[in-house]
Structure formats: C-alpha cells, structure tokens
C-alpha cells in the first residue's frame, strides 16, 4: 500500500499515513486531487477507481471516507477488508467510534494504525493482538504519567 487517507465529507483531512516518503508538496497535491475525485463519486458507485498509476480503494463510514492507494497488482478486496478491519479496531478502542474521536485523539488513531499496518503491509491479522499491544502501550504511558503530580514536576517533591 502506498498511503492511507481519512477525510470527511467536507474534504477535511483527518488522518494521513504515507508508506512511501515523499515531499510535502507532492503529498498535498495528491491529497487534494484524490479527495476531489472520491468526493465527487456517488454513493452507489464501486469502491475502486484507477487514479494515476495507482488503484484507489475507498469506503465511506458515516461522514468519513477511508481511502487507500494500492499498486496495480494488489488485491482490491483485501484492501477493502483491511479498511474495515481498521474501522473495527477504532470502534473497539474508542467504543463506537465517531469522527470527533478521531479528531481529538488523532494520535491514538495513528498508534492503532501503526500497530495494524507497518510499511504498508499488514502487521497482525488478529484484532485481539493489535488491541492488546495498544492497551499495553497505553498502560505504559499512564505509568509514565501517573506518578507525576504538579508538585513533583515543580521539583518540590
């Protein structure tokens, strides 16, 4: 997979993950172009389109579009499943996820994605193990944060 984008119906980018590093300018151009193409499509149209030399697989969940760009030989359907799996993961993690969850906790959404995909390849096909990894990492983060009180931080403890 080349990249994954999440954007709202209004054309606001909510998340972007690039598995092939490219310059900011190029990224912006691609995002803008692709958003236009995808948003212009009607609800009953198919989830795949050919765009530049890539294939774009997208799916709409409520007001959010999940959009992946894959290479010519990749399997479109598995990409669709992958999008769905990611949504499921978000759903499990946030508890019936909504767009606002992703806006306000965008870093968490990234962390989940990073546990699920790496370098554009599926990292773990088991939902359970992805969530477990996230939970444990979060736990670690809380441990980092919990012993800290304002006083401690001020160096007075």
């Amino acid at each position: 997979m080349r990249f994954m984008l999440l954007f709202s119906r209004q054309g606001k980018l909510r998340l972007q993950k690039w598995y092939l590093a490219s310059s900011e300018k190029e990224k912006k151009k691609m995002v803008r172009e692709l958003m236009q193409v995808v948003l212009a499509r009607k609800p009953k149209m198919c989830s795949f389109l050919e765009w530049r030399d890539l294939k774009v697989v997208y799916k709409r969940y409520a007001s959010l579009y999940f959009c992946c760009a894959i290479e010519g030989q990749d399997n479109e359907l598995i990409t669709l499943e992958l999008i769905h799996r990611y949504v499921e993961l978000l759903d499990k993690y946030f508890g019936s996820v909504c767009e606002l969850d992703i806006i306000f906790n965008f870093e968490k959404a990234y962390f989940i994605l990073d546990e699920f995909l790496m370098g554009g390849e599926i990292q773990d096909t088991s939902k359970k193990s992805v969530l477990k990894a996230i939970e444990q990492a979060d736990l670690l983060q809380e441990e980092d944060e919990s012993p800290r009180s304002v006083l401690e931080e001020m160096g007075l403890a």
Partner: protein
Amino acid sequence: MALKMVKGSIDRMFDKNLQDLVRGIRNHKEDEAKYISQCIDEIKQELKQDNIAVKANAVCKLTYLQMLGYDISWAAFNIIEVMSASKFTFKRIGYLAASQCFHEGTDVIMLTTNQIRKDLSSPNQYDTGVALTGLSCFVTPDLARDLANDIMTLMSHTKPYIRKKAVLIMYKVFLKYPESLRPAFPRLKEKLEDPDPGVQSAAVNVICELARRNPKNYLSLAPLFFKLMTSSTNNWVLIKIIKLFGALTPLEPRLGKKLIEPLTNLIHSTSAMSLLYECVNTVIPILKSPVLARNNTVFLYVEKLYFVFFPPTVKYLGLLAMSKILKTHPKSVQSHKDLILQCLDDKDESIRLRALDLLYGMVSKKNLMEIVKKLMIHVDKAEGTTYRDELLTKIIDICSQSNYQYITNFEWYISILVELTRLEGTRHGHLIAAQMLDVAIRVKAIRKFAVSQMAMLLDNAHLIASNTQRNGICEVLYAAAWICGEFSDHLEESNQTLEAMLRPKVTTLPGHIQAVYVQNMVKLYASILQQKEQAGEKEAAQEITQLMIDRLPQFVQSADLEVQERASCILQLIKYIQKLQIKEVPVAEEVIALFAGELNPVAPKAQKKVPVPEGLDLDAWINEPPSDSESEDEKPRTIFHDEEQRHSRHRQPEIDEEELARRREVRKQEQANNPFYIKSSPSPQKQYQDTPGVEHIPVVQIDLSVPLKVPGMPMSDQYVKLEEERRHKQKLEKDKKKKKQKKEKKGKHRRHNSLHTESDEDIAPAQHVDIITEEMPENALPSDEDDKDPNDPYKALDIDLDKPLADSEKLPVQRHRNAENLKSPDTEAPLVGKKSKKPKKKEKKHKEKEREKEKKKEREKKVTEEGKKVKSSKHRKKKHKKEKEEKSKDKKKSKKKHHHSEEEPAESVQNGTLDDEPLPVRNWAALASLEKGGGTYDIQGNLQNDSQVTVSVIFENKSTSFLKSMELNVLDSLNAKMLRPEGSSVHDGIPVPFQLPPGISNEAQFVFTLQSIVMAQKLKGTLSFIVKNDNGSTHEKLDFKLHFSCASYLITTPCYSDAFAKLLESGDLHMSSIKVDGISISFQHLLAKICFYHHFSVVERVDSCASMYSRSIQGHHVCLLVKKGENSVSVDGKCNDSTLLSNLLDEMKETLSKC
C-alpha cells in the same frame, strides 16, 4: 535551576494541549489561518523550553497542524529531541511526528541513527516497537545501511511483537539497501516457520512482496509456500501466498499443474470474496497452458465471478477479472456479452471504461455489427464529450483492430463512420477521416459506395461544419473531398458534387481542408471534362470550366498560403484550358493525365527500407528543382502524417505516349525488383491505368439494392439485416467458395495477409482488403528489454539468493554477538580483538540465554586440526568452511597458517592448495567441520558421471557425545538439486543412514543432479543432528557449503596425440588462455598438479611444453597447451564451451598461483 523548572511547569499549566488546539481551530472557523499562525508562534515558544513534556505537547500539536497542511519541517530538530525522550509517552509522540513529516530530504535525519539504534535495543519492547514503526516510514538508504544489522538481530528477538515488526521493516530496508537482502534472507526464511502466526504472516508478506518483483530468485521456496498454503487458514496469508504463486507459475509451468487442485478447492470452499478473487486471478493464467485448458473449469470460474462480483460496489473487479479471462478464453466470456453491454449504462465511469475494454476483446465476425450497434446507441445517449469520445475511439478501435479482421461488410463500416460524423463536439474527427481514407484506399470494392457517401457528406457539409469553426468533426470533409476527387470516376452526380465543393461556405473551413478541396475539385473537374467531351457536349464542358473560373477566385483570396497558392495555380491552368476549349481543341485527355496513376497501399515503413541503388546520389538534383505540380503530394503534416507514405502516388505531367510507356516499363521493372512493393494483384499490367482491377477480388458482390433513401445520412442498421441474409446465402455456397478461396490464396502475394486464413467462423468478408503487415527492419531488436524501468526501485532487489554469501556481502555493521566461545577448549589461537570484548560479554551473559545459543553455533564451526591431518595423509583437501562470523574466520585463518608450517612437506591442503602425492582419484573437500566438546566432522565430495554427481561425505565424530538422527539437507539451486527419495519435498533433508558413537567415522553418499556444468556451483546446506550425552540430548545444526568446482565435472580421459590433433583441427572449439607468474616448481610437478586437481591427462610432452586433455561428464572436450617459461606458466585452452573453459582456466589459475 529549580526556579527555572518551576517556571517551566507553571507555564505549562497554561499551555494549550492538543484538545485545546483542535477545539480552538473549530471555534475559529472564520479566521482559521490567523488562529493557527498564532498557535504556531506559541508552539515555537514552547519548543524553546527545557521541559520535555512541554516540547512533546508542542510537537504533538505540530503533528496535527501538519495534517492540516502546515509546514512543520522547521521543527525537525525538536522532533528528534522528543524522540530521544526517555519516557515512552513522549517518545511515542516524537516518533509519530517523525514518521509523518520526515522524508529523504530531511537533513537532520542522520542525527537519528544512534537514537534509533538505542531504542531498538531498549529492554522495553514498546520502545523498540515504536522505533521500528517510525523507521518504517522514513527509512533512508543511510539509515537502512547503518541499522540493517540491528534490525536483523531483532528478527530473532524473544518477543513475537518485536519479531514481526522487525521482519516487516526488513522489506523497507531491502528496498533502500539491497545489499542487505542476501545476508538477511536465511533468517527471514526461518521466520516462515515461526511459531507465532503474526511473525509468520509478516515473513510471508515480506517474501511475497520480494518475490513478486523478482520471482525467479524465489523459485526454490515454492515447496515451502505450497506447504504453507495447504496448511494455513488465515485468509490474509493465503492471499499473499497465492499472489506469490501467481508470480512464480510463469517461470515454472509444472507448478501450475500442482496448484490447480488446491486453488480450485479454495474457490469452492472459501466464503471470502477477496480470497476467491485472488484465486481466480491466479488460476486463469495457469489454465492458459494447453494441457490444462479445460474450458469447463473456466466457465465455472466465470459463472462464479458472475454471481459474486455483480453487486455494484465490486462490479469493477468482476469486469477486471473477466478481461483477464478474455485473454485466454475469449469464448467463455463472450456468452456474457449482454451483461457487459449493460455495464455501459453504469453511472460509474471506471466501470463503463472497463466494459468497453472488454468489448474490444470480445468482438468476432459474428457479433461485431451487433456490438457496434449497441455502442452507437450509447454514443447517442452518452453525456459528456469525454465519454462520448472514448466510445467513438473504441468503436473505431474495435472495428479496425488487426487490419479490419472482424469486418465482413465494409459498406456497413462506411455507414457507421458516416453516422459518427453526426457527433457534435468530438475531438476525433481526424480519426474518422483517417479511417475513411484508409478503407477507401485499401478496399477497392468499396470505393464506389464510399464515394457516393462522401459526395453526400460534401453536399451536407453545412451540417457538419456549421456549428463552430473549431469543430473537430469537419476533419471528415478532408477525407470526403479527397475520396471524391481521387475516385471521381465512381461519382454519379459529379456536377453536383463539384458545385458543393465550390460553395462560398467552404471558405470558412480550416486551411488544410480548403487546400484539399481545391486540389480535388480539379480532379473532379478533369473527370467531368472528360465525360462531357466524350459525350460531345461541348457546351456543358465550357460551362463547367466557366463555373470553375467564376468560383475559384474566392480561394485565391484565402488567408491560408497553401490554399492561395494552389488556387491561383489552378485558376491559371483552367483559364488556359478555357482558351483551348474556345479553339475547340480537345483537352480532357491531357487534363486527366495530370492525375493518372495507380494508387497502392504501401507499408508505413516501406519507404525507409527501399535500398539505395548503387551509384545513386540522393542529394544531387536529377532534373531541375521540382515543379509546382509535384507539391500536390504534400499534405499538411499536422493531421495525416502517419498516413502520408501510404498514399504516395505516382503522377505524371503531360508527356507523349512513348515516354509514358517507357517510364511505365521502368517502373514496373523497379516494382518487380523491389521486395517491399506490394502489388495489388497478380497481373497489375492489365488493369494498369483506368480500371481499378476488381475482377480479382473474391467476393465482390456489392449489394446495390441497398436502399439509400434517407436523405443525407445512411443508416448502418440496414446492413445488419442485409449482412445476415448474405451470410446465409454464403453458407449455402460455402463449399464452392472454399475452393475458390484456396485458389485465390495461391495466387496472392505472400505479404498479403489474407482474411480467409483466419476466418474461423466461416464468414467470408464482403469485400477484399489489402492488408499490410507492418514490417520492421531486419535488425530491429525485440523491445522486451525496454520494458524495464531503469528507475524501478525493485530492480536492485533482483538478487540471486541461492548463491552463497561472500565475505564482502556481510552487513557492515558492528556485531552484537561475539563469535568467541568462552568455554571452548581450543581458544589457543590468539584472538586479540575478541579478548578485549570478553569482559563485556560475560557481564551480559547471564541475561542472554538467547545469545548463548547463537554462540554455541559459532563454536561449532571451528575446526580441529586433528581430524584434518588424518585425512590429509590419505586425501587431498579443499576446505570450504562456512564462515559466517568474521571473527571466527580470523581465528581459523591463523590456525591454518599454523597448521601449514607444522606439516610442511606433507602439504596438508586447505582452501584449494595442493598435495604432491600422485594419489587417488578422489579429490576430497572438507565441507565443514564441527567441533563440539572435541568432535569433528569432515565432509568430502567426489563427483561421478553423467549429469549426476555423487558426493561422498565422511562424518567423523570427535566429540565425547553420541550423535544420532543426522540429517543432511541442501538448499537446491536452479541448476543443482539433491536427489531425494520419491515423494519428499525439496526442503526435506536426507537422513544419514548411521549413528556415530564418539570417535568413529563413517561415510555416506548423496547424489546430486546438475543441469549445466559450465559454471562452478556452491550449495548451502545444513546438517542437523541430535547430540546425546550425560546431560541429556540437544538438537544441533551445522551449516556448510558444498563447492562443485568446474574441474570436478571433468573425468580424466586418456587421449592419443593423433586424435588430439584431429580434435584441434576440427575448429569448433573456443579458445582462451591464462598466464601465471612466479612459478617455481618443476614442470613435472606442475603437470602432476594439473592432472590431479583438474583431472587432465598428458597427451604429449616436449621439453617445457605439454598438451593435455580431459572430458567433462557431459562430453565437452577440453584441450590444454601448457608452456613453462622462466618463472611463469602459460596455459592455452580449447573447449566446446567457452564458459566452461574460462571457468576451468580461472580455477587453474588459482591452483597455479599457489604453487
């Protein structure tokens, strides 16, 4: 200090966190940009503080802003600071920010190397994980090179969480740093059998991605994947594996056969669409091979595709898969024509375009008319010019594909073209025009009809050209005018057409079209003139001349130079004609002679290929510079440039009959001698001039009963009906015709690619086409090579993985593990570098059971000299040790030297040095030696006849433990394979048929098959065994390499000098030679060495010169002439195979240089 901290912390309480920022942005919808720039200023302040928490918060906010499209590259350094925070919370944010905004152009990226390395070896798996994830997004070639080894180590981490990430990131590393592939590959392969499913699927992912790009290097893994495929139940993994097989099957057809069954099972059993889709995609190309092409199965797949892939969201895929099937099994798809036609109505353009693509491949002679008819309906309905244009080009593509192969009735096609001219606003007018010209020129039988249609077009030119000046469709008038002019003798209402061409409206057309009008109205005029003169209607003839003179001035005033020039030229000509007419001189013949000449279709490239006759200087003027009349040939380059050569015509100025005849004769001769000149008929002389030879066309039944009543435009639909009738009739006459066709074929020129040859459907075309196969210059190279993009990032990964690793290929990074074994009893050799590291090791040791294991392995690779000495007295030796760790290698080397000096005269041989004794037929090589608590194995190889070689291995147990369950396994290469018992897979080892008590040795033989013997081979292998001692039993492994040198394929064969001389004379031997300096041993000695190590026999010896001979197991003759100079030896070799020879000589050079 404390005060500063206090200040920082208090500030922090007032900082915005991410949520505040997001909320703020949402609340400032109106002046978002202003608000954000304010926030960025705040963030800049925050970044200046020492408190890492503040920085992390700032970076987190920046990451959000980056997503909104703001540039945050200025904060790259701060991001690195946050990455290096010790707390996971911050580190996580730092890496996230880095992964979002770092790329190869980020200059501070090199500062991260050490930080990442530190994180990779962090005891906290989540630190490592987050570093790996981040790295996967921004890895650069430098980072890849520096960190490859660290990541490779992580692939064997105890935690599957790290292992799977490490495995996945290796793919990115390979892409950036291809040199790492070979050293890392064995470990990657191991991971295919990792107990953790996540790691396993990661490994499958990576290898599949690698293999898809360069499949041939991964063929040897096929059996392993086959096993995985039949055992795995994970769809994600299965899809990857199947995709991999899809890439492998074209290289190994036998694989396809094996795959059919499991794939078909999957297709029937799976409920996952994605898997089904992948299976079908893979199966289809496999079925292409004739053995497997059982159409029923394909039908089955198509049906299955049908039911599954026709919900709207995935329809696209159904069509995509169909187009794949279409390539191999057109018939099975053709039955679904209607459904595909329905897709043309789809709202989604990508579906419509896919469906169009499919139609292109689906047409046959039978259904062409029907399909095109449907397409025409869509053309009418289509919204948007782009799609309509697409349809138009598709219609033309479909009809004209492979030289109009599917068109049986060209009248129908002309009608279609004419109907297409009704399209408004299309850009493809020139396309239609080109088709009209092409058909009219190449299908002689259709000319009459074409001319009548074109005349109609000209008559209705106002309909076509009226809309706008820029209307692309007016290009068809170009074709219409030209056809009417050129084939004017077919025209019935010439006068009317001429008048149509002379209308004032014409001057609004684009210049190049007007130019053609002007030119062709003269042709038309000429033919009318002739008619009238022949009929004796002098009045009418003068009238027409007057008409021309009246109307031409409007063109003379044209702004277009070309039009103006032609018009004024022609106007003068006609005025001259008028003068003659007034004098009652017949002029028609002479005027018509202006345009006389045969018109033949010529291959587009034929012109280039006409050889320049000897003594012809193409640059010199033959006559005076060309006259005006010849400029007629020049057509505007802009539109029909690719057609031009085809339409080259022969025109002659007015000359007397004699001259004309003479020239004709010359030209005929020229044509006869020119292989590229395509003659239109077997006897062109007869119909040379005015009769366009129709007699020789097979099925010339032009149905003139076609009702052409519709004013202006014909209806192509009528032809569909007529065609059906015609076909029916034809069927009845079939037998008769067949005979006729056969005759026809014989008489035809070879280059005429007749339609009849390919009419598998028994439908003879209504008209005959002169079909020209495009010719290429003889020395043109096939363009396969060009397909590969030199910038393809995957090209670098085309690495032969079966080749053994060279030392230079090892990863350049410092090792984590030490090759030294602390307990080893034989550490007598001085190991300076290692010793300095020992203390460190010891400290870590108690923690690192894992590493301990590794160390053990390395220990095993050490060699005890004892074992070798024993062998060396009996056998020659070449030592090829698996030296994975450089340090253990150092040690070995030092040992070897030591060893050498010890037993000098005996010359125990290692690494290919020689032994003097004129000894046995066997050339032993130690493949690997293992020492474990004092045990050694010596493995030696020997080769035998045919394409099979036998490798004898002596296992010697020098340890105090009992060894059992030994299994020898070799990683097959494409060329060399170990012969395994029937039914076992390539990855099964061969059990050694005995057990070894301590101190015992025994010999086992293994057979290998080789395809090519011209190159030396190295095969990697493993010996696995169970060590049983008092403490229990452990499973151990020993890696080794088998070296098959070229010399080992030679069999010492005696040869007599006369036979030898004959052989040399025969001349079909390749020659090569080497020279080695610094040889001090006697010639006798030298020859003995060559005889022994390279399996030659001396044929003749004269002084310091000798001829030698040997034969390979595959029957190559190898002849040598060895000459000894003062201090040097030169060897000239001759052999049937140059590669073999050069490899042999190289080996010989190595041997000799050690003397």
